[in-house]
């Protein structure tokens, strides 16, 4: 069980080489195969997630949730996707057409790129980058541009307002997000995600860095534009913010990307704070899936309980609360590490 996927990869490589292919090209084909798998997994995941989100929301609100298609309405999302795919692609006449068209594509590309460094199990990262965590943060910051493009391209005041808000929000929250992760990096002494997972062999970092976990969680919610920080969407105020003018599959791409980001950030949280793929009995890839889904459930729980924060409160929460807290956390972590060293641990 543990090595299913690795074995498949090995078998594929050796088979390609045995066909007379140069090992380099075999690697390239394998890489393409891995990415295809990742995109497939993401799409599947999103299908499950949207269903799960609606179901969880339904249960919280004492409703049934989707229950028509398939067992427990499981195929509802597939039907929705088919509907969105067949819908007319409406591009309003006054938009900046090029930007309007490519914004959702860029958004989904950036979201998928996040998965390159996530260890999906033991030795199961696509690229075992030694600056993996830094890669995650910097690539994640690119999605602001995509939202800005969507908002500007739509040529709609609501959209632009939503885009401006989300960009301001995401840039502000990148700082506490990165700072809260520094504590983890300091303890493990590496930016490599696999190394960080290894470092949690004995003790999960959520216990060593509870404050960092909370600040990370809040900042991540804001980075993901999820409730209660869903400023760019804000259906009740901005009618849908940056996505107001989008419809059909372009709109669906945005949502696909949002959920892709959700999975990625949840997986990152599981990797950094919940011991990643480590766990007894079950294979490593199953552990990370379980932990990711646990974190995503918490995200959903928050979204369906809280009202939306006001924009200026949101900004002051980042600058006046989260950043000082995470800075203090870094200082204390540094001091703690020194003390432990001094005590000879």
């Amino acid at each position: 069980m543990e090595h299913w996927f690795l074995n498949i990869a090995h078998w594929l490589t050796s088979w390609l080489v045995s066909l007379g292919l140069a090992p380099v090209w075999a690697e390239v084909i394998l890489l393409v195969g891995q990415w295809t798998c990742i995109v497939g997994i993401i799409t599947l995941n999103v299908l499950v997630l949207i269903w799960l989100e609606r179901k969880v929301a339904g249960f919280m609100q004492q409703r049934l949730g989707p229950n028509r298609l398939g067992p427990y309405g499981f195929f509802q999302t597939i039907a929705d996707t088919l509907k969105l795919l067949t819908k007319e692609d409406i591009i309003p006449s006054q938009t900046d057409k090029l930007i309007f068209k490519i914004a959702p594509m860029f958004f989904i590309i950036v979201s998928v790129m996040l998965y390159a460094v996530l260890p999906m199990g033991q030795d199961m990262a696509v690229v075992n980058l030694n600056v993996g965590l830094f890669y995650f943060i910097s690539v994640g910051s690119l999605s602001t541009i995509c939202l800005l493009m969507a908002g500007w391209g739509s040529n709609n005041k609501w959209s632009l307002l939503g885009a401006m808000r989300s960009v301001a929000q995401m840039i502000s929250y990148e700082i506490p997000l990165a700072f809260s992760l520094l504590g983890v990096v300091m303890i493990s002494g590496s930016l490599n995600l696999s190394d960080i997972v290894q470092a949690q062999h004995n003790l999960w970092f959520i216990l060593l860095q509870p404050v960092a976990f909370i600040t990370f969680f809040i900042a991540a919610t804001a980075e993901l534009n999820r409730g209660p920080f869903d400023m760019p969407e804000a259906e009740q105020e901005l009618t849908a913010g940056a996505f107001t003018e989008y419809s059909g599959m372009r709109w669906a791409l945005f949502f696909l990307a949002e959920y892709t980001n959700l999975v990625a950030v949840s997986a990152l949280a599981a990797t950094l704070f919940l011991g990643g793929w480590q766990g007894p009995f079950l294979p490593s890839w199953l552990w990370i899936i379980l932990k990711t889904y646990l974190i995503m459930m918490v995200f959903m729980w928050l979204k369906w309980t809280f009202p939306r924060i006001r924009m200026d409160h949101l900004m002051s929460l980042s600058w006046k609360v989260l950043i000082p807290i995470s800075l203090v956390n870094i200082v204390l972590t540094g001091a703690g590490i020194e003390i432990f060293r001094w005590m000879g641990w």
């Binding site: 929301a57 919280m60 609100q61 004492q62 409703r63 005041k157 609501w158 307002l161 409730g227 209660p228 869903d230 804000a234 259906e235 009740q236 105020e237 009618t239 369906w304 309980t305 809280f306 009202p307 939306r308 924060i309 006001r310 924009m311 200026d312 409160h313």
Partner: protein, 366 residues
């Protein structure tokens, strides 16, 4: 040194948070509101003109469609106005039934207010819980009149028919659970720090301004003015009940929410008293089939509706149809302070302000 441009953003008439066809033209400087202009009339159905071509009895079903969230209250106001015009006596039991259903309507309206405030601020689940509890009131309306939303249960001189047997245990159960419901709203909605941050100090309406603009109802009481027509100018049998009038101190959005939640509780007390005191007997007084009031007689009758002072002004010309009907709609008057309380706030505050003013566009546009 620097100057910024003011731009216009149109909230509505097609917007999720305007509670119907309301159009607010917001003049913005960045996220700060410089002015908010309210445009009305998108739900205008010429109710007052319709009244002139209907008999006094025939206009009753239309009145429910004014404030459809508190269906019995506008109907009550209208039939009482006609009764005043004709000098009709209403049987005791009918009066008590009217109080019970009227207060239930008030609770239903306020519950929807709490829920819609929650969803306007982004808390979807809060709305669902409020609707869930409101549904029980709707069931009671269905028991009594057969209609859930637009009951038209009141008639000139009483009500259609007596309350059914199953109504009393249902209302009893509801009143027993009412405290738990309010606790839940307080836990999920009022007590939530995010909501408090968004409502506290937002949309402040001073008592002087409120009186000057003619604001009535919970919005006025949230500003600290102790004025409730049920006490100030009792109609029907309201002087027989003991209840408190909750008031706020700051006149901000949070006070408007808290006052309404407290009013739900007070309405519950009134219903309990009414159930206890209710006599048996007729529910429909002696009323001629064709109502022809004296020529030239006019009457103004006002009640405390869920939204504020709801007045009906009737002028008779001696025929079976009224010469003129005017509705003093509290939603309309209350909406007029939206620019006043929104100025200087943020864009998101307009949404909170609209939600806490609790306008029903069917009533304000008529």
């Amino acid at each position: 040194m620097f100057t910024t441009d003011i731009y216009t953003i149109n909230i509505g008439p097609q917007h999720p948070s305007t509670h119907g066809g309301l159009h607010v033209e917001a003049l913005m400087d960045g996220e700060v509101v410089k002015d908010a202009i309210v445009h009305l009339g998108y739900v205008h159905r010429s109710m007052e003109k319709i009244a002139e071509s209907r008999t006094y009895t025939q206009f009753i079903p239309y009145t429910s469609r004014l404030d459809y969230l508190a269906t019995h209250l506008p109907t009550l106001g209208y039939v009482q106005a006609v009764e005043k015009l004709m000098g009709v006596e209403v049987p005791e039991r009918a009066e008590y039934i009217r109080v019970i259903l009227g207060e239930l309507s008030r609770i239903a309206s306020h519950m929807l207010f709490v829920g819609s405030l929650a969803i306007d601020l982004g808390a979807t689940t809060g709305l669902i819980y409020c609707l869930r509890d409101r549904e029980r009131i709707m069931d009671m309306f269905e028991m009594s009149s057969g209609q859930r939303l637009l009951a038209s249960y009141m008639r000139i001189g009483g009500v259609i028919q007596d309350l059914p047997e199953e109504f009393f245990p249902a209302v009893d159960r509801f009143l027993n659970d009412l405290h738990g419901m309010i606790e839940e709203y307080n836990g999920l909605i009022t007590g939530n720090e995010i909501l408090q941050a968004r409502c506290k100090g937002i949309g402040i309406l001073s008592p002087e301004e409120a009186i000057a603009y003619g604001v009535t109802g919970p919005n006025l009481r949230a500003s600290g003015v102790l004025y409730d027509l049920r006490k100030a100018d009792p109609y029907g049998i309201y002087e027989r009940f003991e209840f408190e009038i909750p008031t706020g101190q700051h006149g901000d959005c949070l006070d408007r929410l808290i006052v309404r939640i407290k009013e739900i509780e007070q309405s519950g007390y009134i219903i309990r008293q009414a159930l206890k005191k209710m006599p048996t007997g007729e529910v429909r007084g002696k009323v001629p089939k064709l109502l022809k009031p004296e020529k030239g007689k006019e009457v103004y009758h006002r009640i405390e509706s869920a939204k504020g002072e709801l007045g009906f002004y009737l002028v008779s010309d001696g025929t079976e149809k009224p010469f003129r009907v005017h509705v003093r709609a509290p939603s309309f008057v209350n909406l007029m302070i939206l620019p006043l309380i929104s100025r200087g706030g943020k864009l998101q505050d307009i949404i909170a302000n609209i939600a806490t003013l609790d306008p029903v566009l069917g009533e304000s546009d008529r």
